[in-house]
């Protein structure tokens, strides 16, 4: 019984895993067929719709303070969006912590536009009927880094600390199923569960699969999701308490995954099964 339950959990995690770009020339026939399917879907990715919406939200004055986000500093100076996504997470002196893209965007919406954090993180994830604004804005920001290499900053001591803490979280086994991120995503040998391959996120060659394709349009249900959602779901599936939206803990884990993937080319917002 216990074993059956374990398999169920593992399958659920794998089913939600990002499409592994490293498998593009897969020799596994099942994975190869899915690669073809994904390539067709990428030609017309509805993520573009959310990118357009996000651009509008970024540039249009909004919120209680009637401000646009064009003064938001994503690490490259106020208003600079191009290339910002692949250089995050990074340390921001004004908040004295490391922030990933969505955390920073939410921070800007609170400080510049006057939104209340309590309202933004009440229901932060997309559903069939609603896509929260930070999701669309993150998609827009991410798209402005398409074709660039992941190059998160690791010069500040807090950025190094974020990497180490993120690594600790990745390998931390606990919870009702004695699970860690590494239980599924720390294995070599091209393992997969059903049709979903399990890339090793701890290794530089395959780590890009963790951050590639996010934010991503999920064909199942037709919703746009970000890394904040994906990692939240990982913890839920592991039966851990769910981390707070845009918390330091998630920024740390995203730092670990992005630094492992550094040097690889980000393809922009993706599309998922």
């Amino acid at each position: 019984m216990r074993q059956a339950l374990m398999l169920g959990v593992a399958a659920a995690i794998a089913a939600a895993a990002p499409w592994p770009q490293a498998m593009a020339q897969s020799e596994d026939p099942v994975a190869a067929d899915f690669d073809k399917f994904r390539a067709i879907m990428e030609e017309a990715n509805p993520a573009e719709l959310f990118e357009a919406k996000g651009e509008q939200l970024w540039k249009t004055p909004g919120g209680p303070k009637k401000q646009s986000l064009e003064k938001c500093d994503l690490g490259l100076g106020p208003g600079v969006v191009k290339g910002a996504y692949v250089q995050m997470p990074r340390y921001f002196a004004d908040v004295d912590r490391v922030m990933d893209a969505e955390a920073r965007i939410v921070h800007c919406m609170v400080t510049l536009q006057g939104f209340e954090l309590d309202k933004l993180d009440d229901k932060p994830f997309s559903s069939a009927t609603k896509t929260p604004d930070p999701v669309s804005i993150t998609t827009y920001v991410a798209a402005q880094s398409a074709g660039m290499k992941f190059a998160p900053s690791q010069s500040h001591p807090k950025e190094k600390e974020a990497y180490e803490v993120g690594k600790e979280i990745f390998f931390y086994r606990a919870g009702a199923y004695d699970f860690a991120c590494a239980s599924c995503h720390g294995l070599d040998g091209g393992k997969r569960i059903r049709t979903q391959p399990l890339p090793n996120f701890a290794k530089p060659e395959t780590a890009a699969s963790a951050v590639m394709g996010w934010p991503g349009y999920r064909m199942t249900g037709g919703v746009m999701h970000t890394l904040q959602w994906r990692l939240n779901d990982c913890f839920r599936q592991q039966r851990f308490p769910e981390p707070d939206y845009t918390s330091e803990m998630l920024s740390n884990l995203i730092t670990y995954l992005t630094v492992n993937a550094q040097g690889q080319v980000y393809k922009g917002p993706g599309i998922k099964r």
Binding site: E43, A44, N45, P46, E48, L49, A52, K53, A128, T129, Y217, M219, G221, G222
Partner: protein, 102 residues
Amino acid sequence: MADPMKIRATVQGDVADVRVLMAHPMETGQRSQGGKKVPLHFIQSITAQLNGKQVFSADISQAISRNPVFAFKVKGAKAGDKISVTWKDNKGESRTDETTVR
């Protein structure tokens, strides 16, 4: 108001390949939320014009997915021509967007 479409039209020879992404919930009327049926809400008709002249029309149903993608080819299009696409849904909402063939 409905969100904008994304239209891409690229010409090769005298045939333009047009791809349209539409933002629409495409509710089937079968889905429930909070114990209540979500009412039917879907695009009923799509038309496309090349420089104002209709070249494509389609009547579709609620069987089409959310945020649908349509692709079609138009013969006799040149770079610089205008392609516009219009959809109308069962609630009477509509949206028109235009792009230039490249």
